[in-house]
Symmetry: C2
Subunit: 252 residues, 2 copies
């Protein structure tokens, strides 16, 4: 008997941004794997089981979830934001590819969620209104030189950028280095949004020009959006400015 | 008296992918502006007014919505997907910037939604599991040369790509040209996902290698995901293959 494994995106952390599809998938699940703080968001009923684990154990978590599903379990793996964006869906796919053949027979599904950059963008205006990219700044799984290459390519081609995993205790210097790289390729006036905990009670949005952007302005819960040369501010009396990227662009 | 203008993302078209936040914002609105098929998705009650308009009238629609909000109306502008990704939030910001000073005093908010690429990615595995970009292939508002520049930059830097607005009756040849450009910079084996109407009854997912990708496989309702050189397929007995981009990458 084959079970099921559903990877579920819980959104940025506000219950009003969790989709009904995600709630239905949770309702149907029996065992819930995920990083502790995400599993803690679930309102599980009696008989539904928590299998929380540490942040850096994605593959072993995916394997444990697949083993249980292969035995017939109705297993859910939960992520914050969207489970397909720098989250558990890819880790589960990696584990399926490297694992026993029977894991390919498990009913596998992914439920999308509101990913952090969309939630942050919505709070400040429309900075992702033009072509954009999403880059994880963590070099745990790719060389830093590749990250720098992507930063430069994105800046020179006029993409707005969203940074995920901008800093951690083990990686305090990379965001600082990323801003230095970008300052060599973009005007200092380009707006940078530090969006922390979008939609949660401890939300904090901060907008600074690239020339003043500093790694101290971010923590692990921050998604950073760096504008393109076209990204603009609209000043408003008594309100935070709007940040947006016009739909149109000229030659660059 | 100043009113409010809320731009709301309705998700890809499945009612189970509309957030409670979006439903609350609709509940509180009086006048609803948007492209006809999106306004048609709303279950409005007596007294809530539809202001549907054609697909290509974003700025005049934004201006009409802002004028009504400036008179005190509780105005909503609705988009499919996420309203901040190639949708109405940027158009409203453009109109605010160019419009009368009083438009800057309107209570302006954006409610995020599940954007097409997230819904499509979820249906096929985790193709957006590594660094990626989103590009509108429409050259209505930017020169085609800039689009080609971005395609090449993204391919060479190893970004997965999601294409929005891939074709229209007025632009039948651009997607074909985009695939030709990419074939000169990526292996023909790179997986391409044509995701049509994700989550709707007429959903259709198709996965082909780049060497076989053809513009006839897309229409206006299709979001296309082009893998990077790292993007892989997992074959499964009796099931569609999974497409995913590993979290890790080597030098490129």
């Amino acid at each position: 008997m084959r079970g099921s494994l559903t990877v579920i995106g819980l959104g940025p952390g506000n219950a009003h941004q969790v989709t009904p599809e995600a709630l239905s998938a949770i309702e149907a699940g029996e065992d819930f794997f995920g990083y502790g703080p995400y599993v803690d968001r679930l309102n599980l009923r009696d008989g539904q089981r928590r299998q929380a684990s540490d942040n850096r154990e994605e593959i072993s978590r995916a394997q444990a979830a697949l083993m249980l599903a292969a035995k017939g379990g109705k297993v859910c793996v939960v992520s914050g934001g969207d489970s397909g964006v720098f989250a558990m869906a890819a880790a589960v796919c990696e584990a399926i590819e490297a694992g026993p053949a029977e894991w390919r027979e498990i009913e596998f599904a992914v439920v999308p969620g509101i990913t952090a950059m969309l939630a942050v963008a919505a709070r400040v205006g429309a900075p992702l209104g033009h072509d954009f990219c999403a880059i994880s700044l963590s070099d745990n799984l790719k060389p830093w030189e590749l990250i720098e290459k992507r930063l430069i390519a994105a800046a020179e081609a006029g993409f707005v950028m969203a940074f995920y995993n901008p800093v951690s205790k083990a990686r305090p210097h990379q965001l600082s280095r990323a801003f230095d790289v970008l300052r060599a390729h973009l005007p200092g006036s380009v707006p940078v949004v530090f969006g922390r905990a979008a939609g949660r009670p401890d939300e904090r949005m901060r907008i600074v020009p690239l020339s003043e952007a500093h790694s101290d302005m971010a923590d692990m819960a921050t998604c950073i959006i760096v504008g393109s040369i076209e990204t603009r501010l609209i000043e408003r009396p008594g309100k935070a400015p709007l940040v947006y990227s016009p739909r149109s662009a000229g030659k660059i």
